[in-house]
């Protein structure tokens, strides 16, 4: 980790994108990036471009789909939405994540006490 800005692991970003799309419905790249920044209280200030690598990966796995549409202020933009298998994957990944987070937390607490 460098500075106060959290660096995010590749898989983590994918998970966050999935979660965002699951919660918000179809969004374009800008929307997804903004949403992640907002939710994390601007703690994660990513180069917004990195979101696109994540989107390509998720598309290739078939967990999200993309289609061109029109944005709120009438711009042409590509909207991404989560697919059925994406939701399944999200559930699995989220469970997994929580389990790991719990384990890591326990280990850290144990280390503090010891």
């Amino acid at each position: 980790m460098s500075g106060s800005r959290a660096e995010i692991l590749q898989g983590t970003l994918d998970l966050m994108v999935l979660k965002t799309l699951a919660g918000m419905g179809p969004l374009h790249g800008y929307g997804i990036a903004r949403r992640i920044e907002q939710i994390s209280d601007e703690a994660l200030r990513i180069n917004q471009g990195t979101i696109y690598a994540s989107l390509v990966r998720l598309m290739q796995k078939g967990w999200i789909s993309g289609a061109w549409g029109t944005s709120d202020n009438n711009r042409k933009a590509k909207f991404y939405s989560i697919t059925k298998s994406g939701r399944k994957q999200l559930q699995a990944e989220a469970d997994n994540w929580e389990r790991i987070a719990a384990v890591v937390g326990r280990v850290l607490r144990a280390a503090e006490r010891g």
Binding site: G29, Y30, Q48, G49, Y52, A53, Q60, K61, R75, K78
Partner: protein, 887 residues
Amino acid sequence: MLACIRTAASRIRVWLSHNEADSEFEQELQEHLAMLTEENLRRGMAPEEAVRVARTRLGGVTQLKETNHELKGLPVLETILQDTRYALRMLRKNPGFTAVVVLTLALGIGANTAIFSVVYAVLLKPLPYAQPEQLVTVFQAKPQEGVMGTGWSYTNFVELREQNHVFSEMAGSQFHQLTLTGRGEPAVVNASVVTPELFSVLEEKPLAGRVFFAEDGKRGAPAVAIVSESLWREFFGADPNLIGSSINLDKRSFTVVGIMWGNFRFPQVTESKQLWIPLVQDPLFGSWMERRGGHWLRVIARVKPGVSMVQVQAEMDAIGARLGKEFPAENDGWAVRLASLRQMMVGNVKSALLVLLGAVGLVLLIVCANIANLLLTRATSRAREIAVRATLGAGRGRIVRQLLSETAVLGLLGGLIGIGLAYWGVHALSSLLPESVPRVNAIAVDNTVLGFAVLLSAMASFAFGLAPAWFAANSNLQASLREGGGRAGESGNRRRARNLLAAGEIALAMVLLVAAGLLLRSFGKLMAVSPGFDAQHIVKADISLPQFQYSKPQQWTAFSDELLRRIQARPGLQDAAVAVPRPIVDGFVNLGFDIVGNPPVSAGSSRTADYVSVSPDYFRVMGIPLMAGRFFDAHDNFSAPRVAVISEAMARHYFPNQDPLGKRLMFGFPPDGAAEREIVGIAGDVRDVALGQEPGPMMYVPYTQAPFWGANLVVKSTLGVAGVGAAIREEVRRIDKDLPVTDIATMPEIVDASVAQARFRTFLLALFAGLALLLAATGIFGVISYSVSCRTNEIGIRVALGASSGTILGGVFRETLMLALVGLAIGLPCALAASRLIGHLLFGVSAYDPATLGAVALGLAAVAAMAGYVPARRAMRVDPMVALRHE
């Protein structure tokens, strides 16, 4: 798994429509930027500020596009294509460089491929029989008497065949020539005299008819023969009714029962006009079948599947011991030995071929070092280009990949031209190869050889591409960019690497030159050796007498007397004689003997000498000098007392400080085996076995007292081989129109052919060494030239400051000589090791011959000095004003 496939499918789809996908992504990014800008404007930024901040938030558009491209498409394939295109463009831009690299590489690959094709055909290619790895030859050996491998008697063979449990089948064979008559011109055919099992051992089926049955091998069975396809086509005009009809061999009738298909050959050495007859039907060997003792039947066997060679050897040892106990007179002290069929066929050619392969491999190494050096030099002047690419975002791996693709393209081009050269080289080699090399007919550029060439090119391009790529990847970007000009980035490491490569080339060249020098000196000594006879103007010819018709020794003598009388009566052919065996031509017959009055030799040692039966004029015709006593004359006939002439070596060895004249020897062939022969003369020594072998003891007997079923002629005449041949044919036909005259050749030709293998390997190794020298010289020239041109500036300053041109010249010279010395220092131990490896190929020269080593070292230093001289002169003439403005 499914996800994997989906990813791959998506990648391929995108790659196929990649322009569209790229522009779509660009649009997406543009929209994203626009949204970010709007957001910033809403926050109250000035328009320019808003765009700038938006760009920072999004990240570098080019880089994003690049990443996206890599993720979506097939980046590896694409980079390779792109790199190849780029590499071809770079190589086209430097045609001189490309030509030098491609041509030297082609030379290296071509030479290696050509030599490999020979090695592959002779040493590696499966023999053309079913499961050839199961085939072994079984022979008897008596190492305590120096007999390392010889054949069997038929009776022993039968015991061996019946007692063993490790072979699925065994067969015996011998080989000699028979006269085929009855259809047109009489012809001499190569007859394989075999036990009926031969074809089942080899698991061969005939083209037509049948192979031999066990009954064909029994005494009293009708005489049958199998002919080869080539004999059937050439001699019998592809007669469809040949099977079942009879042919005459040595004037005896045989029924043809089968035709073997064209490629079947056994033994390998005989190529054409081959036929097979059962052992029992052969006029010579058939009569030996009941005799115990003797070692004449070559035995081949097929090992049962799943039986190891160790088991086979163990069983052979047991049987050998049993034979020794049961028949001690013939078998005591004899061991049974095994060798794979290939080992037996390849014999002594193997080591010479491997030496050549090693030599040509060294040449390729030098080629690689040379090319690596050229590439390093070029990479240095390209350092700036590479630095710019790195700054623009090319990763280290990407740059290495691109440089390696350049060398791969070079390697591929070199390999392609090299394969072309190899085709030509194999053609040239096939015609150069001595006839005694086995399996010459199998030499070809086939798929395996092509595969070898391709693999070799790939390995070579990797070898010479690695160093430049490594240096490029590790160069200091900032330094390269700052230094500007074309000379940027010449680090000390890189110079050291180049110097080391050049010194390595000298070392490798030294190894090859020393080896070639030793072989050349050996060959020179071999050619300078006197064989003990004068081969000039001697023509030889063979007449073989059919033994069914000429069955008695008196007939043989009568024939040769009559023939010699007729030939000598012709003008210009007075010097004619017969001899069996003739030196170098016929091999040798080594025979044991006793000296009458001396105690018999103690067990474990033996008295032997090479036996020759000659007509009286033989010594005069061959120019063999008389040292004492007399030669034979017409009075030494069958009814006269037995006499012998011995060689000087025999006199020296067996009669030290005595006069051998008048002493009596006991030797000979049955029925004359125990005849006492008085020594009447001493003749000069003759190298009868090989030019390279010291003359051993020899004993001559008069032909009339020890005749042979044929006339092996030597005629000294200035009429030329065609004239002499025609005269001999004419006279033979007048005596018996069915007798063919074969193998008419001049003696110098035959002596020459006997050293053909030595000449061949010497010539090739000298050729490779010459190539190596040339390559090493260009390598040094390149390094010194480059070093001088890098230091033009420095030299200019030194000249301006008053350094004399001599000092400058000396400096460059010192640099050259240092390279040469380092190379020689590395090369010397390698050369010594290499010459030990070729020690067995040397004749009359020590493997550590100081003269050769010294000459090679001096020669290499001189060549290095010459290679350095041109750039040194250039350095000397540097104009300080020009040099100072150089950069």
